[in-house]
Amino acid sequence: METIASRPLSLTKTPFHYCPGCLHGVAHRLIAEAVDENGLRNVMTGIAPVGCSVFAYKFFDFDMAEAAHGRAPAVATGIKRARPEMHVFTYQGDGDLAAIGTAEIIHAANRGEHISVFFVNNAIYGMTGGQMAPTTLPEMKTTTSPYGRKVDDMGHPIRMCELMATLVAPYYIERVSLLSPADIIKAKKAVAKAIKYNKEERGFTFVEIISTCPTNWGIDPIKARDWAKDNMLPFFKPNCFRDRGEGVE
């Protein structure tokens, strides 16, 4: 008998510490598989953010760095510039990347750093217990928008892909989701493409991954996916915003 699907080598044996049904785990697997498939495990390094995925450094089985909240792109820049022979990605949540780390992600992208960014958007601050994120939807209740996100006062959700696409340098920008097996298979392609471009030193690659946070949304994992399909996808439309490798501008 032949094993046709099992834990990729680029994942350690440590079980994820995520909540049951949390899709961070799926995103991890996709990255790990892409690293394996591209044969990069010996020259890959990832930057864990501050957020639920803070322990990502325990889960990926290659060199990892843990960055200060929001600063993963700066840390990645430092590593990539110091060791151009390494391939570097950051893994960041929506609070990390789109709030405190706004400047760092925009300027790393603008410099066209040769790194990949995996941006897991679950519309909330998972780790700290469900506060509003920059990507929280209008009227959505969180612990810091207890009466719903009022856009006039608290701002509108920010669409990072659209914003990044105003910059000249990024080579590849795509938004995908993990809300069904089919979506995951599409997401896998995007993640694999980013890693491949990374391997080929094409430039800055950015994949936004629409995810869930069953715990802080207060619903079970399956309902969470449905909620995200109905509410997040209409606003955060999956789309390839740029792919210079395939002539998409």
Binding site: C19, C52, G126, M127
Partner: protein, 180 residues
Amino acid sequence: MKKEMICAGFGGQGVLTIGKFIAQAAMQEGKEVSWLPSYGPEMRGGTANVSVVVSDTTIASPIVSQADILVALNQPSLDKFGPNVRPGGLIIINTDMCPHGIKREDVVKINAPMSEIAKELGSLRVLNMLAIGVIIGTTGMVSYETIEEDLESFLQAKNPDLLEQNIAAVKRGIMIGNSK
């Protein structure tokens, strides 16, 4: 009088609430109280525990290193905190989740299949109220009346339908406590 208590269990078992009700009631009865939860890593899961001190005089340290009372709702909690109970102290054990018990002869142990009883009473959710009952039934730390009052004003606001079930659980707990 000074009583130091630890309540411990899995995340969802409501141990923090057990502590809160006891501390709240004791405060209303004129005692000094403190309630100190463990707070886990910035994410879900795992175990939870709370240290409660009730005293006639100012409470210096809210940390309970030697407990008078331990409420252990699962085995890991019993293993972890059991040894810290003062000789002569009390351990309330949810036998459903503590298959191995604890080997100590110098303490009073109350063993009850609390998860089962809670389910019988309608829902695992009243496990914590059951535990409160056992505590007051055994120790008389606070009076039943105060707990009832607090439960009423708490559930009135949140969910009046559940009041009866919860009160029943406290009462059943008291019976268990008294009987030992």
